[in-house]
């Protein structure tokens, strides 16, 4: 059995909005093995994105432990978390979140600016990432010059640029039509199968979830195993 790259133990996440207390995650446990493709489903407000944020070190649990790629994220400082993210996590967002002032290749280069790589090596990494997503010919295009699907591919290339341990995708097809979404899911599946990238994907879409090898449902702050592909 492969080693668990994600270990979540008894995690609680509570938000306080004024006098109101919202228990988003309630004693959640989760193991994700290296090379898995996991889909997290659930209704709005069930805590999917909160969990994804905890796994990516963007937020901290109120209590419990989150260990990803050997790092205890619940105890790390903001600075350590930033450095850890740069090395281990690639994020894919629903609305792509590309920087509009940068061309596709410059967007992909962003995480590499934090490494010690020379400009020439960074360019090589960028070219490889863009080739993987099939957008070599769009390298010098600005996001406004790309279709939604192409923007998301650039987003995936940016997430891959650092060769991260984990790909975290928050509704990666949520803003795309069915056909384009299919292409993006094919790409994520290929990355998982060919390069054994661990992929955790939050989605509302059952068809998207079908592409994952394991699907978990989040409901009222707890996880329920749904099906195995």
């Amino acid at each position: 059995m492969a080693e668990a790259v994600v270990q979540v133990r008894d995690v609680h996440k509570v938000y306080e909005r004024g006098a109101e207390r919202v228990d988003v995650l309630q004693g959640l446990d989760l193991d994700v093995e290296e090379g898995e493709f996991l889909a997290l489903m659930g209704p709005s407000g069930s805590g999917k994105t909160t969990l994804l944020n905890l796994l990516g070190g963007l937020d901290k649990p109120t209590s419990g432990r989150v260990v990803v790629a050997g790092q205890d994220l619940s105890r790390a400082s903001r600075r350590d978390l930033a450095r850890w993210r740069a090395r281990h996590v690639g994020f894919v967002f629903q609305f792509y979140n590309l920087l509009p002032v940068l061309t596709a290749d410059r967007n992909v280069e962003l995480p590499l600016l934090l490494t010690g790589l020379s400009r020439a090596k960074r360019k090589k990494h960028v070219a490889t990432a863009l080739e993987l997503v099939g957008l070599t010919d769009r390298a010098d295009h600005y996001p406004r010059e790309l279709s939604g699907g192409q923007e998301q591919r650039v987003g995936i290339a940016r997430a891959l640029a650092n060769d991260p341990t984990l790909l975290l995708c928050d509704e990666p097809t949520g803003d795309l039509d069915r056909e384009t979404a299919g292409g993006i899911l094919d790409l994520l599946a290929a990355l998982n199968e060919r390069f054994t990238k661990t992929v955790i994907m939050v989605t509302h879409d059952p068809l998207a979830a079908e592409r994952a090898r394991r699907v978990l449902h989040l409901d009222k702050g707890a996880l329920v195993e749904a099906a195995s592909a």
Partner: protein
């Protein structure tokens, strides 16, 4: 340098807004360069006045004359190395608007005590040989297109000749230059003996310039000079040349303080403009800052990026403004030469301007950068 492209592109996300802010900064630093040149012009005398020189004037006012016989008495005062005198002529050349300083002096001694005025040995020899000879500063000669050998008629206002024509006709025997850019090159010097010849030897001069053996004994020497003429009909007041010029400049008003107040107001306004630009720019890209943090930029790196962007804008505007001032100042010089004998932005003021640009950048970017640093990623990503 690896972040330069990102900084540059971010600056131009709103081209028109950045351009207007940039132009505001350019104008502010252009104004700064011009005002610093004016301030330097007002201060020039104070800056070059030697601490080793004393000025002895009439105790009541500089316009009161002193007896010529004081020269030998001052010269024999302990601590005095050399002494000469000068007399304000105040004549009119062609038109009262053509104002410039005209002083009657003893050529040899005056040039000895003021080595800042550089005159060729040939010109000095001509001056000594020509009783009506005069020398003019380089800028003054340029202003009126004078050449050596020209006859320069000057109408007196109070030194009326006792006989002959009313006009003084001088022969330009030389053109002096300043030993540094700070030396006045707009004065006109002629011989005291020619003045005395025209007005009858009245035995009086304007003031004395005293060179000391040891500048550290200035107070002692000054007191010794004044003590000799105490209770006489023409009591004296002796101070260092620098102190005298500073007091004189302050009679006009504290120009330095006035100019610095203007600079302060201009920069406060520019700070608000540049600060507003940066604040808007950061607010508009809150989610992008969240993305940067998501991909691994630390809080400090994001703070540095925003600050660097503000500094880049301020320094670019500052450099262009200062360069523009340096280019324009020589063009303004002929218009101002009658009021400001020295008019240029000194390197120290330009360096201060550059420092001010960095400070402006840090101050205008400080608050937005702090906001960017404190931004929570999850909060930032929610804003689109």
């Amino acid at each position: 340098m690896r972040f330069f492209h990102l900084l540059w592109r971010n600056l131009f996300r709103r081209k028109v807004r950045t351009l207007f802010t940039f132009l505001s900064i350019v104008v502010a630093f252009f104004l700064f360069g011009i005002l610093m040149a004016i301030r330097h012009g007002f201060d020039y005398g104070v800056q070059i006045a030697g601490e080793s020189r004393l000025l002895t004037i009439h105790k009541i006012s500089i316009i009161q004359l002193l007896p010529i016989r004081y020269q030998s008495q001052i010269g024999s005062t302990p601590g005095v190395a050399n002494v000469t005198h000068a007399t304000w002529f105040g004549g009119v050349y062609q038109d009262p608007k053509n104002f410039f300083a005209q002083l009657a002096v003893e050529p040899e001694k005056y040039l000895e005590i003021y080595p800042d005025y550089v005159l060729s040995p040939e010109a000095e020899a001509r001056w000594l040989a020509t009783r009506t000879g005069a020398v003019a500063g380089r800028k003054l000669a340029q202003r009126f297109a004078w050449q050596v050998g020209d006859r320069i008629p000057i109408q007196p206002t109070f030194w009326r000749p006792t006989e002959g024509r009313d006009t003084y006709e001088f022969e330009l025997v030389g053109i002096y230059e300043g030993s540094t850019p700070d030396v006045d090159e707009t004065s006109f010097f002629f011989r005291q003996d020619y003045l005395m010849e025209r007005v009858g030897d009245i035995g009086q001069v304007g003031w004395y310039v005293v060179e000391m053996e040891d500048p550290s004994r200035a107070d002692e020497v000054a007191q010794a000079i004044d003590a000799q003429f105490a209770n006489s009909p023409a009591e004296t007041k002796t101070t260092t040349e620098r102190a005298f010029l500073r007091d004189f400049a302050e009679q006009v008003g504290n120009t330095g303080a006035i100019l610095m107040t203007i600079v302060g107001i201009v920069f406060f306004v520019i700070l608000l403009i540049a600060g507003n630009t940066m604040a808007q720019s950061v607010r508009e890209r809150t989610s992008e800052l969240g993305v940067l943090k998501t991909v691994g930029f630390t809080d400090r790196a994001v703070l540095g990026l925003v600050l660097a962007e503000a500094v880049l804008l301020a320094v670019a505007g500052g450099v262009v403004g200062l360069v523009l001032a340096v280019v324009v100042i020589p063009g303004l010089e002929p218009l101002l030469v009658a009021f400001l004998p020295v008019f240029y932005a000194p390197p120290a003021a330009l360096a201060a301007g550059l420092g001010l640009a960095v400070l402006l950048g840090l101050a205008s970017g400080g608050l937005p950068a702090w906001f960017a640093r404190r931004l929570q990623i999850t909060e930032a990503l929610r804003r689109r």
